[in-house]
């Protein structure tokens, strides 16, 4: 992915650019609002990471509004220390696609960028999902692994569907809470892990090759690769 990072804090920039590089993405960086606006408007990016409070006279939300008015539809993730609900609402209303508050875990940022990118490419809700020998048909709601049918509870189905739609990507616990349960808060205990291990029992337990894997310090991924 080609990513634009508009961020004035040097440490955050260094941390994010290095991480994205290691994940195989190319990153352009703008340290102030003016440069950010110029780059975002002139270059084609897959995803833009936008800080809210920027030097240079133009703040992040203003840039987003200008870009959206100019017809740019590049997915934008807002990265900000402003964490109150009103701030998030303002950020998303201005045209941002996702909102992540500082401090953040890098895994969370990466997972959200992947999800945004994937979403921008378009999701077909009708085509069957396939990961290795695991098949899911969203229309008939049938799940099979190899030739063995797997019976799932509705919520387990939703969980697996989300994971399979983001196959080969890391999905964080927060993303799962938000998208599978619509819980926009931290339930303190590791309930998501328990759900995952139950799901794992059903899809992986009797098979040699596990598909649902835990990614340390980040979350989970469904993948057929190594």
């Amino acid at each position: 992915m080609k990513i634009l990072l508009v961020e004035d804090n040097e440490r955050v920039t260094q941390f994010v650019v290095k991480g994205l590089q290691e994940a195989g993405h190319t990153t352009d960086h703008a340290g102030n609002g003016r440069d950010g606006m110029f780059l975002a408007a002139s270059e084609p990016y897959d995803v833009i990471i936008m800080d809210r409070m920027l030097p240079g006279g133009i703040d992040g939300l203003a840039i987003i509004e200008v870009l959206r008015k100019a017809g740019k539809r590049t997915p934008i993730l807002i990265l900000s220390a402003l964490s109150e609900v009103d701030d998030r609402i303002r950020g998303l209303r201005s045209g941002g696609d996702d909102y992540l508050t500082k401090p953040f875990a890098f895994g969370e940022l990466l997972a959200r960028l992947d999800a945004l990118h994937r979403r921008a490419e378009g999701v077909n809700h009708e085509t069957p999902l396939v990961v290795g020998d695991l098949h899911m048909d969203p229309l008939t709601r049938k799940v099979t692994r190899g030739d063995r049918p797997i019976a799932l509870q509705p919520r387990e189905f939703k969980l697996l569907e989300y994971l399979m739609r983001h196959a080969d990507q890391v999905v964080t616990r927060t993303m799962l809470l938000e998208n599978v349960w619509d819980y926009h808060f931290d339930p303190q205990t590791n309930v998501v892990d328990v759900h995952i291990s139950k799901l794992r029992q059903k899809i992986d337990a009797e098979f040699e090759r596990p598909l649902l894997r835990t990614v340390r310090n980040a979350g989970y991924t469904v993948t057929a690769g190594e």
């Binding site: 599978v180 819980y183 926009h184």
Partner: protein
């Protein structure tokens, strides 16, 4: 003195005095007018009768008889009582007590008010009546000064009334001011004690419910609330300091040890992961606090929608089911169908999730937890009951305090904000959290105002976006 002038009690009294004066003038002016008119008319009539009598004498007995009659009367009367003058056609005096025809009085019949200028007889202003009798002219008059004492008395009376009114007003004003000042002074003293940090003081109140007393009571209520808040803030800052110290101390020693020992790469990474977990704990505490502050500020009331608590509770139970299974706890849900309330779906879900989370923490292995949604008249009750150790009666008030952790919770994960968040959410919804005895165990009941069912289904559908179409903002970075 300037403070005297600015005193509201005094200016109020002065206002009343001015009002009294105005009323007095309004009362006296028509009276004065009526009196004057009556006197004038009475005197004129009197003079006419006098003149009439003299005219009769003239007609009956002739001019000479009239002259001697007038002379007799002038001789008999007290000087100044009556003015009589009979003149011939050229206005030369023939009889009477005036030496000459008074200047300024025409010789034609009528009533005139004239200044006779007879200082020696004490006559200044007089009312005269002039009559023509053949070749003679008769003037009958009366000194106005006769009525002066009465008028003077009237004016004196009026002045006395004004003086009494002013003095009484001033007096009452000063007394009221003094009484008021003494009460205001005591209020001021209390308030300045409070300003200097002693929140224990309260304004003095009396049994009677006058304006100041009502105000004092209201202010005392406000002070109670402020004291509670300040106390809370003080407690919270202490607790924050304490709770943040622990993970920060761990983090510090971990990093220091790393730098001192310089262990193998694998071990170093493990230590770094540990350090990240420490930092995440600190972030978690901050996030919980920010959320509480947000709820306390009532900022989220704008997010209220009509929602089905029964559905909300069912989802929460389903969410915790696997965690309960893991501990072999029997988690059951009881509801009598949809129950609409108006509220914030995210916060209510979080509150309920905190209650279930708590119950899971304290219920024993193979224990049981029941989540029930019931309608009780106009209220919707969501209860979470467990058969754990419960909460001691004495501790019930404390467990909802921020950062308070009961004895039973030592060694369990959590930062001690769970129940205070539930309490804050309940408060935001204008409802309450009740901690009842479940014998054994705790029965936490969230009481909300039930809504009349109506357009419920459509609205709840709107508030719960399907996972495919929304990546919504997250509250916390996901923790490893």
């Amino acid at each position: 003195m300037t403070s005297m002038m600015r005193s509201s009690a005094l200016s109020l009294a002065m206002g009343y005095v001015a009002l009294g004066l105005a009323a007095l003038v309004l009362f006296a002016a028509p009276l004065w007018y009526a009196w004057q008119v009556t006197i004038q008319e009475g005197r004129t009539e009197y003079l006419q009768i006098d003149a009439q009598r003299l005219t009769e004498v003239y007609h009956r007995e002739g001019a000479d008889a009239l002259k001697s009659f007038i002379d007799t009367r002038v001789g008999m009367q007290i000087p100044g009582e009556r003015i009589l003058l009979l003149t011939d056609a050229s206005l030369q005096p023939l009889a009477g007590n005036l030496h000459a025809w008074p200047a300024g009085v025409p010789a034609t019949p009528g009533n005139y008010k004239v200044n006779l200028g007879l200082g020696d007889r004490g006559i200044q202003e007089a009312l005269v009546h002039v009559t023509n009798l053949g070749n003679y002219t008769l003037l009958v008059g009366r000194d106005n000064a006769l009525f002066k004492p009465l008028q003077t008395r009237f004016w004196y009376g009026l002045a006395a009334a004004v003086a009494v009114l002013c003095i009484a007003g001033l007096f009452v004003g000063i007394i009221t001011r003094r009484a008021l000042m003494s009460r205001v002074y005591s209020i001021r003293q209390t308030v300045s004690a409070i300003i200097h940090g002693d929140l224990k003081h309260r304004l003095p109140t009396h049994v009677n419910d006058d304006e100041l007393n009502t105000l004092s009571r209201t202010i005392n209520g406000m002070l109670d609330q402020i004291e509670l808040l300040v106390h809370g803030v003080r407690n919270v800052s202490n607790s924050i300091a304490h709770d943040l110290r622990t993970p920060l101390a761990e983090l510090r020693s971990r990093l220091e040890e790393l730098s001192l020992i310089r262990p193998s790469t694998d071990e170093t990474y493990a230590e770094i992961d540990g350090a990240v977990a420490d930092v995440d704990r600190v972030i978690r505490i901050f996030d919980a606090l920010l959320r509480l502050a947000e709820i306390d500020a009532g900022m989220r009331r704008s997010g209220f929608v009509s929602l089905d608590v029964s559905d909300l509770a069912a989802n929460a139970v389903e969410f915790y089911e696997p965690a309960a299974e893991l501990k072999s706890i029997d988690l059951t849900f009881r509801s009598n169908g949809p129950l609409p309330v108006s509220g914030d779906p995210v916060l209510l879900a979080q509150a309920l999730s905190n209650l279930i989370d708590n119950a899971l923490k304290y219920a024993p292995q193979h224990g049981s937890i029941e989540v029930a949604v019931q309608k009780h008249g106009a209220t919707a009750e969501i209860s979470v009951s467990d058969n754990g150790p419960g909460i001691d009666e004495l501790e019930k008030a404390k467990v909802v305090q921020r950062f308070y952790r009961g004895d039973a919770s030592r060694g369990t994960p959590g930062v001690g904000l769970g129940l205070s968040l539930v309490q804050a959410v309940a408060k935001l919804h204008g409802s309450s959290l009740e901690l009842r005895d479940n014998g054994p165990g705790l029965r936490a009941v969230l009481i909300l105002a039930a809504e009349e069912s109506g357009s419920l289904l459509r609205e709840t559908a709107q508030t719960q976006p399907s996972p495919a179409d929304g990546i919504a903002p997250s509250t916390l970075a996901s923790l490893p």
